[in-house]
């Protein structure tokens, strides 16, 4: 549509250069006032993707026939691949009162692991649609997302969804939004994204309520990279929002954080598939390809400017994304090491935050030590390896990295418990802490504080945001958070608490390594680093847990937890007594053989520590220690 207009321009106005210039300026100015850049934020399952699909359909961006595909694809992607796969931003044309408006919908991931990515997506918009479920009302992520949008100075348009449900209570929910979130909501459109009710109203309000982008297309180039992905033919693609200036094919650009320069090969928009156009200018959202070989050269949050005429100051808010959670990933079948390596390399093409390096474990063989943004990121990556690359893997307990100060003055940075030096060589250890903000209704403050205290948290403060919302601030060791903090928080607050954290640095802690011995043999992949005060309870829970997971073997198997040579807990798996097909006559040998083949197949995921077979789940089980009740 835009292309067409620009294409027509010379034919109509080539009589007078002056007139052309004049009209062109009017046209350009006019054009920007018709752009709306916005995103949709919501608590999970409140209907974010359904509304997005409905908007795309209503504006005729996709044919109804394609629509079905798009809808299915996106749902499948979201379900299967979680949130790292981001929907591309979509440009929709909406005609309102005789004028065509260009609506750019920018999708956002929705989890605390990706808070930074969300904030960059929001930074590319002027407005945010806040969807609230008409029967569920305001929930934890509604609030967290709304605050993120407020932090980014976005205009927020609340929308009440699912009014087709019999349990819908739109008026109460509006009141709740005003009370809890603190934004006016009485004029919020009541819609059903499912059956299409009042979608027009939403489109109308996007045009009316959200401000048009500001910026000057003639100023020096200033763009925000809010996302990136890897294309096999074009290399790393930057998804950008242009704040000032114009970028077109052939321009020389510069990434302000890395200082690297590139020649622009292609610029384009998403309709919703990528479509090349002449140029992108202030206010536009689109993509930019310039033969960038690796995704690591594209940092989300970085500012792109002209290499010839650079701006002085980058856009604010850039952070270098660092992995904070680490675990070992090993192929379940030891011979598949190379395949695992290929899989990780392919995933890294599209995911700049994934880090990995080779690791060797006595128990698990060759594998990789991998770094992630958080637990969810870890789960997504391991799931993708299993599904997309059809590789069975064993993941070890997730951990953080520590700064180990040795008595000889050396400082080691390590994340793998098995590489911790002997206790005598260690002067002290520092572990990463985070500043955590927990939002919840006041009645849960007691439960939250109890949990934080149990997780070695340091109380920082308590703020009453309004009558029904408080913010509890704690400093917490990251290592405690990645255990089961999230689950415990959810269960203790009935899902009402939302939780956000940022790294605050390293602090000295009294940490020890707990080893696990099976039948007297140390299993390196099961070692953990814990606070001294928790070593006994963790050791006990761990041995109990392993007792449940390790199947009975031909002989009895002692399971011990030890600090150094001191055993702190012991359990025993008694010997297997009965594993037999008592009746094997009547000639039906096939069924019996199949039973045995199945049993053998089940053993494939087992690892051998000495003579003890342990299932791969054992390695992950350390993660799910619920010691909240101790």
């Amino acid at each position: 549509m835009l292309n067409k207009k620009q294409g027509l321009k010379p034919c109509f106005f080539n009589k007078s250069l002056l007139l052309l210039d004049f009209l062109f300026i009017i046209f350009v100015m006019d054009r920007k006032s018709k752009i709306r850049n916005f995103c949709i934020v919501a608590h999970i399952d409140h209907g974010k993707s359904t509304l997005a699909d409905r908007l795309i359909e209503k504006t005729g961006t996709l044919e109804k026939r394609d629509m079905q595909n798009q809808l299915l694809d996106s749902m499948e992607l979201e379900r299967e691949k979680g949130i790292t796969i981001k929907l591309t931003p979509t440009r929709m044309i909406y005609n309102f009162e005789g004028e065509d408006y260009e609506l750019n919908l920018i999708d956002t991931p929705g989890h605390v692991d990706f808070t930074y990515e969300v904030s960059r997506s929001l930074a590319a918009c002027e407005g945010a649609i806040l969807i609230v479920d008409a029967s569920q009302g305001v929930e934890a992520q509604t609030l967290a997302n709304a605050y993120l949008a407020i932090d980014n100075n976005l205009e927020i348009l609340p929308v009440i969804n699912k009014i087709d449900l019999p349990s819908a209570r739109p008026e109460e929910v509006k009141k709740e939004i005003e009370d809890v979130v603190g934004i006016p909501a009485m004029h919020a459109p009541c819609i059903s994204a499912k059956d299409g009710t009042n979608i027009d109203k939403v489109l109308e309000m996007i045009v009316k309520e959200f401000p048009a982008p500001k910026g000057d297309e003639n100023a020096k180039l200033k763009c925000l990279i809010f996302d990136s992905y890897y294309d096999n033919f074009k290399g790393a693609i930057c998804l950008i929002r242009v704040f000032d200036g114009t970028v077109k094919v052939g321009d020389k650009i510069k990434m302000m954080q890395t200082g690297k320069t590139f020649d622009v090969n292609e610029v384009g928009i998403f309709v919703p598939y990528p479509k090349a156009i002449d140029k992108l200018q202030a206010g536009d959202v689109g993509y930019l390809a310039c033969s960038i070989k690796t995704i690591q050269d594209v940092s989300v949050g970085d500012t792109i400017t002209s290499a010839i005429e650079p701006i002085d100051q980058p856009l604010p808010g850039y952070k270098k994304v660092q992995p904070v959670v680490f675990c070992g990933i090993f192929p379940a079948d030891g011979s598949k090491y190379q395949e695992l390596k290929d899989a990780l390399e392919k995933l890294k093409l599209n995911d700049a935050s994934l880090q990995f390096e080779p690791e060797v474990s006595q128990a698990l063989g060759f594998g990789f030590r991998c770094g992630f943004l958080g637990l969810l990121h870890l789960e997504i990556i391991s799931e993708r390896i299993e599904r997309e690359f059809n590789l069975e893997i064993i993941t070890t307990a997730p951990g953080v990295y520590y700064l180990v100060h040795k008595t000889n003055g050396e400082v080691l940075k390590l994340s793998n418990p098995s590489s911790l030096p002997n206790a005598v060589e260690i002067d002290y250890i520092e572990e990463p802490y985070v500043k955590a903000n927990i939002f919840a209704p006041p009645e849960y403050v007691g439960a939250i504080m109890e949990l934080c205290q149990d997780k070695r948290g340091i109380y920082q403060g308590l703020v009453y945001l309004e009558e029904k919302r408080v913010r509890v601030d704690y400093k917490l060791p990251l290592g405690e958070i990645i255990y089961d903090f999230f689950d415990s928080l959810k269960s203790r607050t009935k899902g009402y608490a939302s939780f956000d954290y940022e790294m605050s640095g390293f602090e000295r802690s009294d940490l020890v390594k707990v080893d696990i011995l099976l039948n007297g043999e140390k299993c390196d992949a099961l070692s953990i680093i814990v606070h001294k005060d928790k070593a006994y309870s963790r050791g006990r829970i761990l041995t109990e847990k392993l007792k449940k997971i390790i199947p009975r073997q031909l002989f009895e198997v002692p399971i011990q937890a030890a600090i150094g040579n001191k055993v702190i807990a012991r359990e025993t798996v008694s010997a297997m007594r009965k594993d037999v097909l008592a009746k094997c006559y009547g000639g039906d040998i096939t069924r019996k053989r199949k039973l045995l083949e199945k049993q053998k197949e089940g053993k494939k995921r087992m690892r051998k520590i000495g003579s003890v077979e342990i299932p791969s789940e054992a390695f992950m089980s350390i993660l799910k220690l619920d010691d909240g009740d101790n």
């Binding site: 031909l554 297997m576 007594r577 009965k578 594993d579 037999v580 097909l581 008592a582 009746k583 094997c584 006559y585 009547g586 000639g587 039906d588 040998i589 096939t590 019996k592 053989r593 045995l596 083949e597 049993q599 053998k600 053993k603 003579s611």
Partner: protein
């Protein structure tokens, strides 16, 4: 070729709670049609075979009219070259037998009885849905001996509710004195059985595995002491009374199966008849497979280790599997779980109870 024959009689007076076999009650009017089709099936068979054993099993073969059995047996004798010393077994239940029936069986050439005793405790018998009682069972054995049966086997179930070795001994003692063969099965809870249903409803609570295995080990010792040698996981016999028919299964000999759901194995080919009457009458097969080398190896190990026949290592080697290169093999040998005598390996009977686990370790 040397061969065994199995004939399946899928009729019962009532189905026992634990039974997952192809057997049906209250369909007496099906019998005529079934036997007609059974005859047709036998007549259709194109194998020429030297028959070493015949086993008439079920269901409850003793539940149907004796003349049906006679007709089938006569047909088999006529069609195949049945050895003079062939072992010919019929399964009977104490409640569907009498002296004249037994005499009749003897007369038509049957020389071995397998009696479904299961227990000599009336309460236990009721719990598993059996129709007979202790008195009938004892009487059945007496009659069998009276009419001249020399080779008598009884089935016994282990692992019933509220069972203990003391109770088991009360069943074992009278049987030991009067029969030549005992099959002692640990009760297995199969899907789609009344037993499973009752357990899920908590109307039956079975003893835990450890208790059952303890009883099983005691039974083995007890029977060994009284002249019954354990020659397979669940089978015990006086010298020379091992069941030839079952040994043929475990030795992977040829066998032809006739009747509903019956399995056959000739060469390296297995097939099985349909499990429903209609499909069986139409000649539909439930299974047809030619074993792969890998499957043959698996079967040799699986079947050889469950009985005292053992596994011939040279045989495996010829099939391309050098089991001595399997690290588990040496481990099992060193720990006296397996014994090797020349080129034959055997599982120590002590470990029969965990045989699956060991067999699985030895598969390549």
């Amino acid at each position: 070729m040397d061969c065994s024959i199995y004939v399946h009689i899928p009729f019962c007076e009532s189905k026992c709670f634990y039974c997952a076999f192809a057997s049906f009650s209250n369909i007496e009017n099906e019998q005529k049609k079934y036997f007609e089709n059974l005859e047709k099936e036998i007549k259709r068979d194109k194998h020429t075979a030297n028959i070493k054993s015949i086993y008439i099993g079920g269901g409850t073969p003793s539940f149907v009219d004796c003349n049906y059995i006679k007709k089938i047996l006569d047909l088999l004798m006529k069609k195949y070259d049945v050895d003079k010393n062939a072992e010919i077994t019929i399964e009977v239940n104490p409640n569907s037998i009498n002296e004249s029936k037994l005499t009749f069986y003897k007369k038509i050439g049957i020389n071995r009885l397998s009696i479904g005793v299961q227990s000599l405790n009336n309460l236990q018998l009721k719990r598993i849905g059996r129709l007979h009682n202790k008195k009938q069972a004892i009487n059945c054995i007496k009659l069998a001996k009276k009419v001249g049966f020399k080779n008598i086997s009884c089935d016994l179930l282990l692992g019933l509710e509220k069972e203990n070795f003391w109770l088991l001994k009360k069943s074992l003692r009278p049987l030991m004195k009067n029969v030549t063969h005992l099959s002692c099965y640990m009760l297995q809870v199969e899907d789609n059985t009344k037993l499973k249903d009752l357990i899920e409803k908590k109307q039956i609570i079975l003893p835990n595995e450890d208790e059952v295995v303890n009883d099983y080990q005691r039974v083995i010792k007890y029977l060994n002491k009284h002249g019954f040698k354990q020659y397979e996981i669940s089978n015990f016999a006086k010298e020379g009374f091992e069941c030839k028919h079952n040994l043929n299964y475990w030795a992977r000999g040829n066998y032809l199966g006739f009747g509903l759901a019956a399995h056959s194995f000739v060469g390296n080919k297995r097939w099985a008849n349909a499990k429903t009457f209609d499909n069986y009458y139409k000649g539909i097969k439930e299974l047809e497979e030619v074993l792969t080398k890998q499957q043959i190896i698996e079967e040799i190990i699986m079947l050889g280790l469950r009985c005292d026949l053992g596994v011939d290592l040279d045989k495996l080697k010829k099939l391309g599997y050098d089991i001595q290169k399997n690290p588990n093999f040496n481990y099992l040998l060193e720990n006296n779980i397996l014994v090797k005598n020349k080129n034959i390996i055997n599982l120590l009977p002590k470990y029969y109870g965990v045989s699956n686990m060991i067999i699985e370790k030895l598969l390549n």
